[in-house]
């Protein structure tokens, strides 16, 4: 089995190298040029440019309905009715807002679904342990709690060893406490794996705590971006973050209420 896994990793490495040559992408994990996507003649994404470096953690903010999910679905290769140039790594993984586990497959089978080769159960167990679900390996998805299902979905994405991890509001449905734990988990996993991440979120603080760069989408393009030059783990009480938070909220068209500091539990 060990050799099987090894072979699979090698296979994927080969794919990656091909990708690099073919895409001339240097050290970019995503390269989008003049992307346009319209629904019924209305351009939801309108001549959008985007670059994400390898291993870079990017958060994407924007008002509801501004096209964040649409962009993410394009990057995931789920939406091809597009114009423009989109380069993404072959190895990419998505975690949706709803966990979207197949209810008829036990958790570990869900994690392995669609993987090339015939990976053994141990591969799934390892990934599930990594997200703290080692004890629910054999469970049916419908018996998982919301947070557990979301972590299973994350394990399913991670087990693919992605070069690009696409997260569409993965913590949206979680309660505040579970959410903090899940954010930390994503931060840790990202540091361990070193894959590029695009995190779509509504939560400005979440974006600031996790990302290297925060983008604001508006009018079908990336309208604004800020760099977050702070070591991790970050403290939301950090003045720089507070300043950036006000700036971003302003960009999102929200008058920032005075410091978020009081809010922190």
């Amino acid at each position: 089995m060990a050799t099987e896994l090894h072979r699979q990793v090698n296979y994927l490495k080969g794919e990656l190298e091909k990708e690099k040559v073919a895409g001339e992408s240097g050290d970019a994990a995503v390269r989008v040029r003049s992307l346009t996507r319209s629904f019924d003649g209305r351009a939801v994404i309108d001549d959008l440019q985007l670059d994400i470096g390898t291993g870079e953690f990017v958060a994407l903010l924007g008002r509801s309905g501004c096209g964040k999910s649409t962009l993410l679905r394009v990057l995931a290769g789920l939406d091809r009715e597009i114009e423009g140039e989109v380069l993404v790594p072959r190895r990419k993984a998505v975690a949706f807002q709803a966990p979207r586990l197949m209810p008829w497959k036990r958790v570990w089978r869900n994690v392995l679904l669609g993987l090339p080769g015939r990976p053994g159960r141990a591969v799934a167990e390892r990934a599930l342990t990594e997200v703290g679900l080692g004890h629910r390996v054999d469970a049916w998805p419908k018996t998982l709690s919301g947070g557990e299902a979301q972590r299973a979905s994350l394990a399913r994405a991670l087990v693919r060893e992605p070069d690009l991890l696409l997260l569409d509001e993965p913590f949206g449905a979680l309660d505040a406490l579970t959410r903090i734990t899940a954010q930390q988990l994503v931060g840790e996993l990202w540091q361990r794996r070193g894959c590029a991440v695009l995190l779509v979120t509504h939560d400005v603080e979440e974006a600031l705590l996790l990302a290297d760069r925060v983008l604001v989408m508006d009018g079908g393009v990336i309208a604004h971006q800020v760099r977050v030059d702070r070591d991790r783990p970050r403290d939301i009480a950090d003045p720089l973050l507070a300043e950036l938070r006000t700036e971003l909220l302003d960009r999102l068209g929200v008058k920032a209420p005075e410091p978020a500091v009081h809010k922190v539990a």
């Binding site: 995931a76 290769g77 789920l78 993984a93 998505v94 949706f96 709803a98 979207r100 197949m102 209810p103 008829w104 497959k105 679904l113 669609g114 993987l115 090339p116 049916w140 998805p141 419908k142 018996t143 399913r156 693919r160």
Partner: protein, 269 residues
């Protein structure tokens, strides 16, 4: 004014003086006793309806001399063959029109059109086409089964959550991978409903098919009993039909419990 409080009584604490199954069997038992008494006192003549005692005796006679087991075997065999044929055709058609647009356009309209013909009305045609042997009976059963399975499997396939299909695509499943891991398992609940309906239909079709021209099987026993006014035999045959139907339902329920374990809401409790 403070509201009147009332206790929320835990289910386990609610005492049931008489177990439910006992209460539920009382009614039928009383009916049986009434029936026996009316037969014994002559209120219910035996050429209208035999007494429960007589029926029990007849049943054990028929079982002992092998008539009933043989008839049951023949009838069950008919149902099974019809079920398999109808099942294969129904599921195959449902897959064709469920999984492809082209298939849907070709198959669905025709099946919907044929479905509006009452299948019992096909009996005369079947007799003309296939004579009065086994073939028309099996064909009748297969016909009823085909439509039920087709409709439910087709609806099941089309009802699979598009979000799950998208998730499967994102996980790298190809067309066949999607069908195997997402579409078919997702259609299974519908298919099981279809199976249950089609079993019920199959028994009905059997009864129709056998009473019209029977040379063997339970329907044959039934017809012969009618000629000799043996109401006891007729009732025995009806009971056998009912029991076999119940058995089939039990089998499907068990199958559902095994195949649909992943649905926490499906316990039938």
């Amino acid at each position: 004014m403070s509201p009147v409080l009332e206790p929320v009584v835990p289910l386990s604490a609610r005492r049931r003086p008489v177990p439910r199954w006992l209460r539920r069997t009382t009614g039928p038992l009383l009916l049986l006793v009434l029936w026996q008494v009316s037969s014994a006192t002559g209120v219910l003549p035996s050429d209208i309806l035999a007494s429960p005692g007589t029926i029990a005796g007849t049943a054990s006679d028929l079982l002992e001399d092998g008539t009933l087991p043989h008839a049951m075997l023949v009838s069950v065999q008919r149902v099974l063959i019809g079920l398999v044929i109808g099942g294969v055709i129904g599921v195959a058609l449902a897959l064709i029109s469920g999984l492809s647009r082209l298939g849907e356009d070709l198959v669905d309209a025709s099946v919907q059109m044929l479905r509006s013909i009452p299948w019992v009305g096909m009996i005369p045609l079947f007799i003309i086409w296939m004579g009065i042997g086994e073939a028309p009976k099996i064909a009748l059963i297969a016909l009823g089964v085909t439509f039920h399975l087709y409709l439910n499997v087709y609806a099941g396939i089309r009802g699979v959550d598009a979000q799950l299909i998208e998730a499967g695509t994102a996980l790298g499943l190809g067309r066949w991978g999607l069908i195997r891991h997402v579409v078919l398992p997702g259609a299974l609940p519908g298919a099981m409903t279809g199976l249950r309906y089609s079993l019920a239909t199959a028994w009905l079709a059997l009864v129709f098919g056998e009473t019209i021209n029977a040379d063997d099987g339970i329907g044959f026993l039934l017809n012969r009993a009618r000629e000799f006014f043996q109401t006891d035999v007729i009732v025995v045959c009806l009971i056998v039909y009912a029991a076999l139907g119940l058995l089939a339902d039990f089998i499907v329920r068990t199958l559902e419990r095994l195949l649909l374990r992943w649905r926490p809401n499906f316990t039938g409790k």
